[in-house]
Amino acid sequence: MKKVIGTLASLGLAAVGLFGAVAAQAQNCSVWLVESSRFMNVPFGAFMPDRAYVPGSNNPNNNVNTVDLPVNVGVIKCGKELILYDSGWKQQDYLKMTGSDHWAPLPDQLKMLGFNASDVTKIVIGHGHWDHAGQLMDFPNAVLYVQREELKGIEWALNYPNPKIAAVNTSPGGCMRTPACGYPPKTLDEIYGKVLAGKAMIVDGEAEIAPGVKIHPAFRAHTAGSQLLEVPTSIGKLVFGSDAYSSYEGIRDWMIANPQQTDTVQQFLAYEKCYKITGGYQNCVSAHEPLSYTDKYPLTKNSWIGINGSRMAEIALNPGERSRHP
């Protein structure tokens, strides 16, 4: 009798464990994309050298002069977790940047989707550049995930004796001439603020931050500590790549992007990782996808206009998750 009771009790415990594991593995995430701001009229070749404009060319790869580049943020809901991949930049009315438009505060954009800033539990920054790691202070409950390698890379460039290789701008003309730059004081202060508040995880390589939601390192695919985020969804796995990923067409055609700090071999290895995880290129999500929110980019075909002309898209919904499309 005791044996029977003991067996039944064990089966009960095993059932709890099994159901929990199955539920965790079965968990998909709902995903939206939000345009934090948009860089306007960027020479295509500055973004992707293979797409440099050639006047009079009939080659579709070289007959587009400029493109508008969104700064896209991934909004990922997995069970009770609300995760952001990248966090845009804060450009309020005290800062009107030449060439940039359609900015809106990320908390307000999340509100349009029915979320509060306080709902965000985690923020994974693809890398620490100023246009991807801003607005962190606006999400008080979010734990920031940043690679240790990213911070080490910034510090190395900061202290390198040659001013042409610096982590902050050494040319008023911008970052292009100081290849290790892109980390102004405010961006670093935002990251530091999260660390001081005990709301940061310094990641060493791979990490699973929610069931099935995995950080993959992509060191030097753009910056020293770039990282990808794998997300299971009802349309298959997505891999967010920030600037390690060029564009939909770029990953399809194996073209590089953002060359100023990029080890292009590592960038291609990051593409390959996406191919392996997702089975193709269609679910690899880049931060500055020029075809975002158009019919030519299938992932964001369900899109709409939000605040100040910024755009949003609903990429995948978990069963039972309501659509946020207005």
Binding site: I5, A26, D93, H132, P172, C175
Partner: protein
């Protein structure tokens, strides 16, 4: 002694209790499993209508050409700004390295104390710049940033004395405000500084 009688009665009671416990565990397991499955498939209770808000945020604005005096001011301030930016980031990294356990509080002071002098020297050069009237606002914003950075560095090194992290928190808040002023000034003086990255 009533022990044997009690013993046999206890055996029957003990067996029944075990059976009930086992059944309760199975029932709890089933309830937990249902609860977990409901949680991951539960529809969110929040509701939000997605109305398009009016254009409350201005976009790009055409900029007028700068006067010779304004160009001279921007050119003169840039070398100071380069040093101030780099020093500000170094100060932040001293705090980061301390919080990550890579350096101790003594090393924090060793790294940050010299930066106080850098900010003071920057202040001297800054005060010597001729300021056109049209740049007075930016000049005051930059002056405030310098003041905040100096104060932040002074506050930060106090952690070496008493080990209290509140000094780092206070310093970070000042540094953050200063960095916003740098961006405000930079947006006017060096608008091409931040490109897609």
């Amino acid at each position: 002694m009533s022990t044997p009688a009690q013993s046999s009665g206890s055996k029957r009671t003990f067996g029944a209790k075990q059976l009930l416990t086992g059944l309760a565990l199975i029932a709890l397991g089933a309830i937990a499993a249902v609860a977990v499955l409901r949680e991951v498939t539960r529809a969110p209770s929040n509701s939000g209508s997605a109305a398009t808000v009016g254009n409350a945020y201005a976009g790009t604005v055409p900029r007028p050409a700068r006067t010779a005096a304004e160009e001279s001011y921007a050119t003169g301030l840039w070398p100071i700004h380069e040093i101030v930016q780099a020093s500000a980031v170094r100060m932040t990294f001293a705090g980061l390295s301390y919080k990550m356990g890579e350096i101790d509080k003594v090393e924090v002071k060793k790294r940050v104390a010299p930066l106080s002098k850098v900010f003071e020297q920057a202040q001297v050069k800054f005060d010597a710049l001729p300021v056109p009237a049209s740049m007075q606002t930016q000049h005051e914003q930059y002056a405030e940033a310098l003041r905040l950075y100096r104060n932040a560095s002074t506050e930060m090194v106090k952690v070496a004395q008493d080990g209290k992290e509140e000094h780092l928190v206070k310093a970070q808040a000042m540094s953050y405000s200063a960095s916003e002023n740098l961006l405000r000034v930079g947006d006017v003086l060096w608008p091409g500084e931040h490109r897609p990255n």
